[in-house]
Amino acid sequence: MSVTETLLLVYLSTGFTVGFGHCIGMCGPIVVSLSLGIAGRSIWTPHLLYNAGRIVTYAVLGGLLGLTGSFVRVTANIAGLQKGVLIFAGILMIVMGFVTGGWLPKGFRTDNAGVSGSWLSKGYSKIAGTRKTAAYFPLGLLLGLLPCGPVYTALIGAARAGMETQHALIGAFFGASLMAAFGLGTVLPLILVARLVRLGWLQSRNWIYRAGSFLMIGVGVYFLVNALQY
């Protein structure tokens, strides 16, 4: 097995272990929020699209770091964007929490069959509760930019790999491949969370549904506070 193949396997397995050890805790609430937008449909296609979006973002970031060979320069340039994404994710979860908890005024409420005409409902529909499955891909692209320790750590490796290659383009390809492998490794743990926390089941147990809503609002606020300090 070549060094490249070995590294790809290392990144894949790192993504898998980090996915269970870290991503379920940190990104689990986001996945739960997204699952609540998938009412009466299979979770597979939306979540696979969401994860595909994340992997593409990771690969692009890995490619950039592989190309430049500089972790610090690239991450410094995207820090502002990441803060914005953190705020977006926080707002998304707070809105989801209020909507799924049924704590919005009647005109703002959504239901499984569709959404009402209010601005909030429309916004909610666009960012998460959309009936269009394809929307989960750009959502994944965007949320792939969320600042995350293990992703940063993997990107350090991608930058190092870029530094060690003889040509910048080879470095970009190698960095992108490593980050794609890492992202691929994280898919199974997050899909597992999405599979286990299903809307249909939550709907039939009101108290758990409410508890989940509290959790989402809490995590959303936590994200916003972190974004302000980021």
Partner: protein, 161 residues
């Protein structure tokens, strides 16, 4: 974690409504697991040495011999290029050692982040690395110095964001 929750939930199976209750409990435990994973605070390894990395070098003993780790520039800030300087006693010179440092957060899996060290003088080894920023806001990091053939020593310190 999931496997553990699965095992716990299987222990609590009600008769009659057994399957239904098992499913409820299983999923409730998973939500609790997610909450625990999110809000849990990292705890340092029990034998890790706490140090004030912004003011001084981290000092400890491995197999009775002194080990000193200096990180600079100070203050030690995340997301910047850092130099890790390891100073070992002279008796290590008899051996051809290649020490390295693994960076991580106590109690939180961050993925492998290894700093390889090269000898820059008779007793001093140096390498460059980056401590990443955790959006959870936690600032406590651990540098585990491994000296192959002799064991490892962990230093715990706070970094600045």
């Amino acid at each position: 974690m999931i496997i553990g929750l699965e095992a716990v939930s299987i222990l609590f199976t009600w008769k009659g409504k057994g399957v239904e209750m098992q499913v409820i409990l299983k999923r409730g435990l998973i939500i609790l697991g997610i909450m625990f994973g999110f809000f849990t605070t990292g705890a340092a390894a029990p034998d890790a040495i706490l140090c004030h990395v912004h003011q001084e070098a981290c000092k400890g003993r491995l197999s009775g011999r002194p080990v000193e780790l200096e990180i600079f520039p100070k203050p030690v800030t995340a997301m910047t290029e850092l130099t890790f300087r390891l100073t070992l006693p002279e008796d290590y010179l008899k051996e051809n050692i290649s020490p390295y440092i693994d960076l991580g957060m106590p109690g939180m899996q961050m993925g492998p982040n290894r700093v390889t060290l090269n000898a820059v003088s008779r007793r001093v080894y140096e390498g460059n690395g980056i401590i990443v920023k955790c959006p959870s806001g936690k600032r406590t990091w651990q540098a585990t110095v491994t000296i192959p053939g002799h064991g490892l020593i962990a230093f715990v310190f706070d970094v600045r964001y």
